[in-house]
Symmetry: C2
Subunit: 204 residues, 2 copies
């Protein structure tokens, strides 16, 4: 019996270093999951391969997928659609392989609604502790900027509550290690392995 794979969603505020952390995880040799391939309506660039870099589709195909609920999440950006095909993710999970998704915060919230059983990891800025002194250091003559920064920080942290885990990106190697630990621990959850044990007993 193949256990269903885990959907791992890595997200966090823009500029936090999601892409770098994801790349470091994939370049490490002990990972064992598929990186979800996005679908887009933008033109294929030289060297890009359909089904590897992106699934390229027409606007009509993409909108039909939106209509039929065939996307785990999607967004429009500079006139083009970008999204995660549900079918590909579902097929991979059913084969027993984990799927790793690195997306923006808004997309992650869409995924949370469609696949609440996923493992949602929020990458937090490394300099939260320094924020105070940096903000104060700028002086009162930039009050508008101070308020803007504080509001943004509060807004970002507030989104954390939709996630399962918070990992501070103080150093890429630390964040990578913690994310791998989370994934390995999640695989040890009784709810995920008990069927396998029961099966073993039945087959005795």
């Amino acid at each position: 019996m193949t256990e269903r794979g885990l959907l791992i969603v890595l997200s966090g505020p823009s500029g936090v270093g999601k892409g770098t952390v994801r790349q470091a995880i994939f370049e490490s040799d002990d990972n064992d999951f598929d990186y979800s391939i996005s679908m887009t309506t933008r033109k294929k660039r030289v060297g890009e391969r359909d089904g590897i870099d992106y699934f390229f589709s027409t606007k009509e195909e993409f909108e039909a997928l939106i209509e039929s609920g065939g996307l785990l999440e999607y967004a429009e950006y500079v006139g083009n659609y970008y999204g995660t095909p549900l079918g590909y993710v579902e097929k991979t999970l059913q084969s027993g392989k984990d799927v790793f998704l690195e997306i923006e915060v808004q997309g992650a919230l869409q995924v949370r609604e469609k696949m609440p059983e996923g493992i949602f990891i929020f990458l937090t800025p490394p300099d939260l502790k320094e924020l105070k002194s940096r903000i104060i250091g700028r002086g009162t003559d930039e009050m508008a900027i101070i308020e803007q920064r504080m509001a943004k920080a509060i807004e970002e942290i507030d989104l954390m509550r939709y996630y399962d885990y918070a990992v501070e990106n103080d150093k890429v190697e630390n964040a990578v290690r913690k994310i791998k630990q989370i994934i390995e621990s999640e695989h040890l959850k009784v709810s995920r392995v008990i069927q396998r044990y029961k099966k073993m007993i039945e087959e005795l």
Copy 2:
């Protein structure tokens, strides 16, 4: 602000090697939790120290604690009581330190009722996969023993469903590594850290 510590409960079928794994965790230098001290009514042996090896108590004191709900779990064994004082565990958790509890399966179920937020880890036998061939290898002339073994295996695995994680004790070092990963991951749970982040933001 001090975050509340985690209560980690390690249990599993008798003979699985709980004590060995617990000892290996405590002898490793990167652990940071208290090992819960049991209370007992049995006589103090030479070399044993009150409050270190055990909390020694009279039968009357112990039964008064049972009555007042002051024990996280307890059992009677060869005419003596053994139990885990709730007060000590609670004080340690409130100080922000994790408490590690290694107990029998029945005791763990009592703890689950009193502190459902604990992290319950079920150590599974390393030879579950070999069980089938071992049982079959014994032949049909020992049918009673075969049935007894199978019933015991089924019963043990069935208790797993009350736990959060299942760790196979194939090698002590593997089990130790996995248990440490689980503890570190649990500390990254958003529900545990979000207050700290909110506090940081408030103090900006």
